[in-house]
Symmetry: C3
Subunit: 270 residues, 3 copies
């Protein structure tokens, strides 16, 4: 961190956020893309949350109203139907004062997708989490584009993240070698991780789902968001040390999310 | 088993049922939710069956008619389209006298989903398999609700299972620490398993798919159903001993379903 | 190889094709079935490509036009919507002179599916890849049918493959114990592999996605296609030696796709 206005999240704050999640076991409703449904559910379960994939417009808002503690809207494979489900559920959560995360997968690609993302930002997501290129695109900044990959670093998207947070009124989180979360003023950072995570589909998408769960009943959603990122980066480090490639990394990552305890962060802090 | 009317399935019966499945390699048509498609196919393959996901209303009934040995209908992520596919395929199987299993995922949640479940029960499923809360909800008994998780034990849903079996005219199977299957009169039980299975999405949903395959050409579908549950509980035990968390459990579970042989149950019986 | 007109692909050609892929990192747009989305993305990532699942008719053609280097169309779980997406994207690729692969999953089953496959063949796929039964069915030859499994060997489908290649004007690739690729005249073969791959859903479907990426900017798409098959067979061999069942095979396979380098094939050639 050369920029003095950026603060690393403390191990103690990570431990506290993880303790809260493990105690509350939040029910996270997910309306996500067709590719990452299974890993998203498994990541939430491993971390100590209850996933429920409820995308259909016929029941998404009802479920958001009476059952969900948090919601994820991920636009990776939008359809007319799941788009309607997202808007109904997101509006319900915002009205009810419950947290939801928007993952703007592939932002800056097709006009159709960008329109959907813009509509969802207007519904005031608690957290917007994406990679550098996606956050730059969402904020209307210049960016590079290669499908769902990022060609822009998280650091290069930090000004865009702040501008976007000011527009959305919530938190914006940019993932990359270092993760950043900002409310438009404060900037917190999480470091570590393992590059192998970029070779397993859904590690980013499921991180977005986790941020929704961490924001549930959080005193400070900004701290909860970056604590979540730090928890995930630590799990990726452990998995990286225990694997030979993306196949074994995937399993080791789920195992690490499950075995990591708040104490592990406190020990580190000593 | 303190209740004398509940009988544990014998290892010999499990071995016989597994031998039949391995010899016949039944083709199981699956119309299931978006989250568990891959694990369901992999579990069927590992156990020695042929999966075929054929949900589209344009071809679901034709496939049920001329190709499928058994059918799974799982309402985890219902849509207008796959709901129609389920009804068409289920009606075809019932008319043709071929077995099908209903998995009423998330029963007792939204009215829209409960209506679909009720319509499917009217089509006379050979087996209804769910967790405690789902079976209680299907039977119209009081139950707790937290998305797709069960807050009610399988034991507490036994009376509901019997009542539901009498209504549906088929078998009802309740999963939990102990699994029970009933035809409304007889009750058989399967014991063992490993709690880690509850942290891997799709272990329950794929069990439902397996019960459909075990019921194909079975003399006694009640015995076939609980034999299937016992086979799966044994595989989960083996996997539990070979894993460190839900990631490694997932793989060890598929390996165990594949390596377990009828003889392994007969040895145990000695 | 008893048939003198069939030539085994050389290790040198495999090394060259793999080097090109690793250097170019092609962006492969996938419109594939609901079951294999995750493994397809992970296989592409492990092999060194960028996957992007973009099936919606609202954006599939635009993405094909401005972003995709190659395209996969897989009809495993067709719907009105993804069928439209496939046709729009495939037509765009053919017009732009960019490669795309058709995977005719379950060909020879329902009339509805066969009509879709026929429409896609008319759009001139660069590669058609399927198992023996599927290629026989696509070519209008007699075949056996059991859902998505093949009851016909790849060798028995070789004449059908040649006939189909002459009709489509592209390459046809038949997978099995030996893989064959033909442009209607030449026939190249890839050998090795491991039978465990048939017990993991999506190994065939993801091979089709890989062939699209290998064909991107290839001088000779026939050589690129069978080089891809040989790369995959080698990875399956390594995985087979490192696993105890289909669960551990799945991970070891992804690890092997990632760790295999062009040099490994050159060493073998010495």
């Amino acid at each position: 961190m050369t920029d003095s206005s950026i603060e690393a999240i403390s191990p103690k704050a990570v431990a506290a956020a993880l303790s809260r999640v493990r105690a509350q076991r939040p029910l996270v409703q997910c309306i996500t893309n067709d590719v990452v449904q299974e890993i998203t559910a498994n990541v939430l379960l491993a971390a100590g949350m209850s996933p429920a994939m409820v995308p259909a417009p016929e029941e998404a808002a009802a479920f958001a109203q009476f059952a969900a503690d948090a919601l994820l809207c991920n636009v990776g494979t939008p359809s007319e139907e799941n788009s309607r489900g997202m808007k109904l559920a997101a509006a319900t959560m915002s009205e009810a004062g419950k947290p939801w995360t928007l993952d703007p997968v592939g932002a800056g690609g097709t006009a159709w997708r960008d329109d959907l993302i813009s509509d969802l930002i207007d519904l005031r997501p608690t957290v917007i989490r994406g990679n550098g290129s996606e956050i730059l695109a969402c904020a209307g900044f210049a960016h590079q584009y290669k499908g769902v990959d990022s060609l822009d670093s998280s650091r290069s998207a930090l000004d865009a993240a702040k501008a976007l947070a000011q527009r959305s009124g919530g938190i914006v989180c940019v993932s990359g070698e270092t993760d950043y979360a900002t409310d438009g003023t404060r900037v917190l950072a999480a470091v570590g991780g393992n590059v192998m995570a970029t070779l397993v589909v859904g590690t980013g998408c499921s991180l977005s789902a986790l941020t929704a769960g961490f924001a549930a009943k959080a005193e400070d959603p900004l701290v909860a968001t970056i604590a979540c990122c730090q928890f995930v980066k630590r799990a990726a480090e452990i998995a990286g040390n225990a694997s030979r490639g993306p196949g074994s990394f995937h399993d080791a990552y789920l195992d690490a999310l499950y075995t990591l305890q708040p104490e592990n962060f406190l020990e580190e802090a000593v």
